[in-house]
Symmetry: C2
Subunit: 437 residues, 2 copies
């Protein structure tokens, strides 16, 4: 499964490794955040559960192998290589920072140690999966932080880059601090609280707004959220107030949220609907949420769609998957790339999070603080069950709470200090020296 | 299949429509480009093939229905509603602009006419699918235009928002004018030419670059692309030149492409490798490609990843799916939203593309030029086989060629004129008048 869902060069390299007698060579690849996405002081790692599922199911069907055989790029590959693909399974080790871990520029997210072909093929899939979910979880954390305790609901599937990305985006957003999602499949699949109101089309499909509101209440009962702005939001609020309970609350989807929310609040209060809530949605992001919260808008919860679904202000992250170590018949060789722009750091690593800084060390070193990279798969098998999504969400909240307030804030902050251990610095120098000889 | 892959409110509205006796009411929804994405003079529509597949397979499993039954939002729904979901099928009509059609702000992309529940539920899925593929196809068209005849290969799966989005992104990029993709599954599934080279890890896994190059050639033969910049690109070029043929060419993945490509060209030419090509990749977009082409870089083809995979400078498109018409027991009612920011235009529409402008007319009107919206599904069944991906790609190229050069260019251009027909203007006024009464 999913064997072809990778860049062709991973597979041509696989053929090359095979034909060069490297099937047994062990390689260590590291997934590293080269630099934080723009406008971010941290990222929250997400997507590891999907990576594990992928690695444990990675394989090739007969038909897929037939396709590769017919490509000119494999003309020099032997029948034995295609035989190898037929029984391909991932048998390696995976070390990773648990989902919900905040990380910074230059830090490894995961480390994969396996026979070189098994470690090479997953590159494309891993980069896409971890990068995407990490971007969304990080954006969600910012939105939740700006909302200062008010629930933020993820509403963005319609803007996600494919509906399926919307499902995984909903998962990542929940992990990052959203309180729920509008994506029904994400609720079904991951147990995320789902939330739904009505669209303008609902209101427009009835002869008048009052009728539309009444009919919605009949189905949704106490979960009812009346959408106010199909025609005129204050008129909508008066209609909602007249109908009264059962009612969760109302939603504003356009206009000046600050003044309208206050006017709507007054209308609801006058009708005795003090515990009915006001939700705002429509082109919101963390900055607009913060502004509304600071200005004292009468908004009890926020629906965030577009900006969250694609991490719109920062839709990419500079992450790389680099070979850092080779084990050829028991002899270790460290590898790195020293070209100007795209250098990489040799050797398998560990990250220690102490109270005021992170130390990137060599794997196996002792250090102070929490060791962030933990064994996940050994010999292709899970070391222990993965955390639940709730547990990862709690981890994210707990670890963020330990970081300085400026790092968690929306403005660019002094970077969290990340340094190399002495042993790692020595390894970098020695490897450079060896390579330059 | 895919019944839950939608926003919850589509399903609560479905329950509401059902309980309000609206199962037989026919609704017409329109997918409209509210405004072009930033930095775009046009978009190229893509994703229709996936929409058709979705609509023809849309259904709910027993387990999914059980999940909905347990949600508080459906407390007021009757057993008959869940019975209805059990046999749910899309039986409506779909009119759409064929894939590869360039469209502009305010224009409808597709129009769905069906019993209201069947027309409502697909909203989320349609918006995400069409928007995403349209964004990528449009970005690809810009990259291809900037490359002025040199092939542009889509390399972006690792940056796509999920690996599966990478597959559909590769499809859209090819449709928009890319010459191929690195995504193997996209090649397998859609017949797109696939392209692959080697990564830095390949070179690093050997004791020396020469050996890495030699081994790659043995497998890839005439498809061989040697990656030059693992250590030093000119040294890499000399190694590649020394090995010579078989060789497709070389790839530069970092550095100053302009000067390096010329130096590499000279090295290859000196070795008699005049027909070996130079590919450049690494943080490229349409602007950088244009700059390299204008400056006379010795680059024969471009690999574009990150910027294309998520349409990074413009990762969202303001598209909406709005109810425009109702048919209640044979009586038509036109609907629109007239709130300040988010107005919609009533009635089913047609778009006529004439030589110098588009006219948005009422559906059924006669007009000059090509009628862009065509019947795709009638009664849930395909009217005729969909175009192949190659045909859509040709349509895109042919239709773009007819637009003014500035519209196809990279700089913001005077918008292509889009006007409303007189009949449509009258309908807008009449509907507003009726709604405001």
């Amino acid at each position: 499964m999913n064997g072809l869902l990778t860049d062709l060069y991973e597979l041509t390299m696989a053929a090359g490794y095979f034909e060069s007698g490297k099937v047994e060579e062990k390689a260590t690849f590291e997934f590293t955040i080269r630099r934080l996405p723009a406008f971010r002081n941290f990222v929250l790692v997400a997507g590891l559960a999907q990576v594990v599922e992928y690695l444990q199911n990675l394989s090739f069907t007969e038909e897929e192998i037939g396709y590769l055989r017919g490509l000119p790029q494999f003309r020099g590959a032997s029948p034995a290589f295609f035989e190898y693909l037929r029984s391909f399974r991932f048998t390696g080790d995976l070390f990773a920072a648990p989902e919900g871990t905040p990380l910074f520029s230059g830090e490894p997210v995961l480390c994969l140690r396996a026979p070189i072909i098994e470690a090479q093929i997953p590159e494309t899939w891993l980069l896409s999966t971890i990068t995407f979910q990490t971007l969304i979880a990080s954006k969600a954390a910012r939105c939740a932080s700006a909302a200062a305790g008010r629930p933020v609901i993820e509403f963005g599937t319609r803007r996600a880059h494919t509906p399926d990305a919307g499902v995984l985006g909903a998962r990542a957003a929940y992990l990052g601090g959203c309180a729920g999602t509008s994506n029904t499949l994400a609720g079904y699949r991951y147990g995320i609280p789902v939330s739904g109101t009505a669209a303008h089309s609902w209101v427009m499909s009835f002869a008048c707004e009052m009728e539309a509101f009444r009919k919605l209440q009949r189905v949704m009962g106490e979960s009812t959220v009346q959408l106010l702005d199909t025609y005129d939001p204050l008129q909508g609020a008066r209609h909602a107030a007249k109908l009264g309970k059962p009612l969760w609350g109302v939603r504003l989807d356009s206009g000046d949220f600050l003044s309208t929310s206050r006017q709507v609040r007054a209308i609801l209060d006058q009708a005795g609907l003090h515990d009915s809530r006001i939700m705002a949605s429509g082109d919101l992001d963390e900055y607009k949420i913060r502004e509304l919260v600071r200005a004292g808008a009468a908004v009890d919860s926020f629906g965030v769609g577009t900006q969250l679904a694609v991490s719109a202000d920062s839709p990419v992250m500079g992450a790389v998957y680099k070979l850092v170590e080779l084990d050829i018949q028991g002899i270790k060789r460290f590898t790195a790339k020293y070209s100007d722009e795209k250098a990489s750091v040799p050797g398998a690593k560990q990250v220690f999070r102490a109270a005021h800084r992170d130390v990137i060390a060599r794997s196996g070193e002792c250090g102070n603080g929490e060791a962030l990279l933990r064994p996940v798969l050994l010999g292709g098998e899970l070391v222990e069950p993965l955390p639940t999504l709730e547990q990862s969400r709690e981890r994210a909240a707990a670890m963020l709470a330990k970081l300085p307030e400026e790092i968690r804030g929306l403005e660019p902050a002094e970077p969290w200090p990340v340094i190399y251990s002495r042993e790692l610095r020595e390894l970098i120098e020695n490897t450079r020296h060896n390579l330059m000889q």
